[in-house]
Amino acid sequence: MSLSDLVLSIADNKQMLGLRYAEWATRAPSLEADIAAAAMGLDDLGHSRVLYGCLEPLGADPRGPDRESDAGSLRSLQYFDEPWTEWAQFVAANAILDTAFTVMIEACVNGTVEVLQHRMRKMLMEERYHFLHGRSWLKSGVDANPLSEAWREAIEWFGPLDGETATFHKEGRLSMGPTELRARLEERLETKAPAVQIDWKAWDPVRRRSRPGAIDDRTFAMLRGLEEKKYAKAPPAP
């Protein structure tokens, strides 16, 4: 596992977060929330592109050809495997997972890796608005189930206390390790994480999740441009 693997995980998760946000651009509880969902979706898709662009300067691009054919090779969390059916899932992702990714970006920006310091800083400015949006909706009260699932996946995503993330922290490449990341997330959300049981033996350090699965076929096809082709004009007959 390298720092590139971690950056790719942030990128894949932000890509999926952006797509799931965008799916709510016409069905959020208010017109303003519709527009915010679209804007946040665009932000996160943009962030993912910047992050993919960091892989080459980091020296090792872990993306293989299987990403074109195997949805399970993408490194997004289980939370994004299926489209959300309830607004509470949106809010939990917005408040907890989006902020978890932001906290990791803070750790990169305040770490010693120059390319990450420079390229990721602007994301923190844009993420301020995601945070305000998520925290405000969180305070309005949403169902507990998506919240506990988002907390569990966030803590899992930070990684085990003796894993690579902790090593990157010790080396200074990240300014925070799993313990500090969790504390920072709790501090920002002004709440303690619920007690979660994580089976670290089943945890996949590449995908940073302990449960198998992959994004749904339609979303995977869309990522590869196959959905768009359905609506393309047929080529003229020879």
């Binding site: 709510w24 069905r27 509880p29 208010s30 017109l31 303003e32 929330a33 527009i35 915010a36 679209a38 804007a39 946040m40 959300w84 059916t85 309830e86 607004w87 608005y129 995601h130 305000l132 949006h133 925290r135 405000s136 909706w137 305070k139 309005s140």
Partner: protein, 78 residues
């Protein structure tokens, strides 16, 4: 989304308030009103204003609760 997804939420919340949005593109020009948003609190109003009125590269944007604007006179009263 299933039909039950929105039933817990109203499209316009009863306690939502209106905020006026002001912005300017350069330091030399005055702030001017670019629109308004409706939100239940200041944080959400900030997020909504930024998302809704991001068509320009504003150097400054500010919001104010409409109820906090003190009108001196209205059209036709001067």
């Amino acid at each position: 989304m299933g039909p039950g997804g929105l039933t817990h939420y109203k499209r316009v919340s009863g306690d939502a308030v209106e905020y006026e949005v002001f912005a300017r593109k350069t330091r030399g020009e005055p702030l001017h009103q670019v629109g308004s948003v409706v939100a239940p609190d200041d944080d959400l109003a900030v997020a909504y204003a930024r998302a809704t009125y991001d068509e320009e590269r504003w150097v400054e944007m500010a919001i104010v609760r409409k109820e906090h604007v003190i009108e001196l006179w209205q059209p036709g009263e001067a």
